[in-house]
């Protein structure tokens, strides 16, 4: 091996080793397994002479990454009107999952006869299933809210992080409510350690507005905002790792100088 090759191969090898070490200590071993993201608008509206129902749903293709979608539909029958909206802006990468979802629904009855029913249902859902291969630190923060603007609509806004097992240890974090009639908002801030297992992070918002009586309006808005960051539990050893790396670099430097001389 020539002197020139020797001079360059050692630092190069050292750089590779350091890069691999850094990668191992800085990044969590997480395998993305499954995802389910969708937005939906559905409802029905009827008048004395007409009836309309609809359901429009957009789903993610299941390839992780970004999924940003909105469905927003309004239907009318006579002077009755109903609308619903589902909105989701989300991203799934190897160690960071984030999503903002909104679900709105409104219904207004301006004419009635017989079984007139006007309703709208908005939905936004974010779910990702992942496998953790080594103890992993997580940081989960988010915000949940439901705002009944008019009337008495129903809604839900939840965030869950679950690992269920019939035979072993369960891990269940659950926030928000699946059936809200009144105003609510909730901050979520939890951090901790995930043991090796399969976990599902799910955030869900829905809003339903049903109007039956003449001149009544229902309007509700639910939303979620969630961020889950995963880091290897080995991260708290940076001082040791960097000192080790520095010592190796210095040793290599001395060696190169000695080879030069």
């Amino acid at each position: 091996m020539s002197m020139r090759t020797l001079r360059w191969s050692r630092p190069a090898m050292l750089a590779i080793v350091l890069a691999i070490t850094y990668h191992n200590i800085a990044h969590a071993s997480v395998i993305l397994m499954d995802e389910s993201r969708r937005v939906r608008s559905s409802g029905s509206v009827s008048s004395v002479t007409s009836l309309e129902t609809w359901s429009v749903e957009e789903r993610s293709p299941g390839d992780f990454g970004n999924f940003n979608f909105e469905v927003n539909e309004t239907r009318s029958a006579g002077s009755n009107v109903s609308s619903s909206r589902g909105f989701l802006q989300s991203s799934i990468t190897g160690n960071l999952f984030s999503a903002t979802g909104m679900a709105n629904a409104s219904a207004g009855v301006n004419e009635t006869r017989g079984n007139t029913s006007v309703n709208g249902n908005g939905l936004s859902e974010f779910a990702v299933t992942f496998q953790v291969l080594e103890p992993t630190i997580f940081n989960l923060d988010g915000f949940l809210a439901f705002d009944p603007m008019f009337g008495s609509p129903r809604g839900s806004a939840t965030i869950t992080l679950l690992s269920d097992s019939f035979t072993g240890a369960n891990f269940r974090l659950s926030f928000g409510t699946s059936s809200a009639f009144g105003d609510f908002s909730q901050n979520v801030m939890v951090a901790g350690l995930l043991e090796p297992n399969t976990y599902t992070l799910r955030a869900f918002a829905s809003s339903s507005a049903d109007a039956f009586s003449l001149n009544s309006t229902q309007d509700g808005r639910a939303s979620f905002d969630v961020n889950l960051a995963l880091h290897s539990a080995a991260v708290p050893l940076p001082a040791a790792a960097w000192t080790f790396g520095l010592a190796l670099t210095m040793l290599a430097g001395f060696r190169v100088r000695r080879v030069k001389t």
């Binding site: 409510t177 951090a191 350690l193």
Partner: protein, 266 residues
């Protein structure tokens, strides 16, 4: 005047002390302890062709928080059949720190057959504390849950949960498994923020050993161990306090007191 010099100094000092107390209450907000329900329980029954013995022995905390350290350990025999169960709990509840270490075990053996021969036992240790949080407060929860199946097909488990009692803003952490037939061990390391509300921290370890078949003993041990700290270093600290305002206010008061003292001295 004799009053204005010394008395004024003392008034200023008293005022400063009151300010410090107010500062302390602004920064440190301890939880209000609401209820305490801790117990250890041993129960079972063992019977042979001619004898039946059943028992329930339970020790409960008096509900006044603080420490509760208890153990129950019972064994009964009927002929050559035997059953035993035990539970122990070492725990402490203060307004900013809950700790508990518990185990529960049970075993049973059936040496005689024929109706109504039976040997069954269960041990249970339970910790429950309800507390109220008045300001947003950080928490740190660390611990371990485990179930170790000994002989036969005993079942048991250990769980830990933290949840609020409110209607819409559900906060729920649920860990462990209450009923499994295999070994498990789960480490707990969680921290976060509790919004003002009433919360319950509950942990339970239980084991059941039911024996119907002759010659196959059953046994198991479940355990939980946790530390729950409200706020940093055992003091419930509002995570977003009012440091700027409070410290500015405190320093201004201190400066005023010092200036006043200088004026008095001169």
């Amino acid at each position: 005047m004799g009053y204005s010099g010394q008395a004024h100094r003392w008034t200023t000092r008293l005022f400063l002390i009151i300010c410090l107390c107010l500062l302390h209450s602004a920064v440190y907000a301890a939880a209000i302890l609401v209820t305490d329900n801790r117990l250890v329980n041993s129960q079972g029954n063992v019977s042979s062709q001619t004898t039946t013995q059943t028992w329930t022995v339970e020790e409960r905390s008096p509900g006044n928080f603080g420490t509760f350290d208890f153990m129950v350990d019972e064994t009964r025999t009927a002929g050559t059949n035997a059953a035993s169960s035990n539970a122990s709990l070492t725990s402490n509840i203060t307004d900013s720190l809950f700790t508990a270490n518990a185990s529960a075990g049970s075993s049973s053996i059936l040496n005689e057959s024929g109706n109504p021969s039976r040997s069954s036992s269960s041990g249970r240790a339970s910790f429950e504390a309800t507390f109220q949080i008045l300001t947003p407060t950080t928490f740190d929860l660390t611990g371990n849950l485990s179930f170790l199946k000994g002989a036969g097909s005993s079942r048991g488990g250990a769980t830990l949960s933290l949840f609020n009692g409110c209607c819409s803003n559900t906060f729920s952490i649920s860990l462990g498994n209450s009923s499994v037939f295999n070994d498990f061990s789960q480490n707990i390391q969680l921290s976060g923020l509790l919004d003002p509300d009433t919360y319950t921290l509950r942990a339970q370890a239980s084991v059941n050993a039911d024996n119907f078949s002759v010659g196959s003993p059953e046994s198991g041990t479940a355990a939980f161990d946790f530390n729950f700290v409200l706020g940093s270093n055992g003091a419930a600290v509002a995570p977003v306090p009012v440091p700027a305002a409070v410290w500015l206010f405190g320093s201004a008061i201190g400066l005023l007191g010092w200036m006043r003292r200088r004026v008095d001295q001169s």
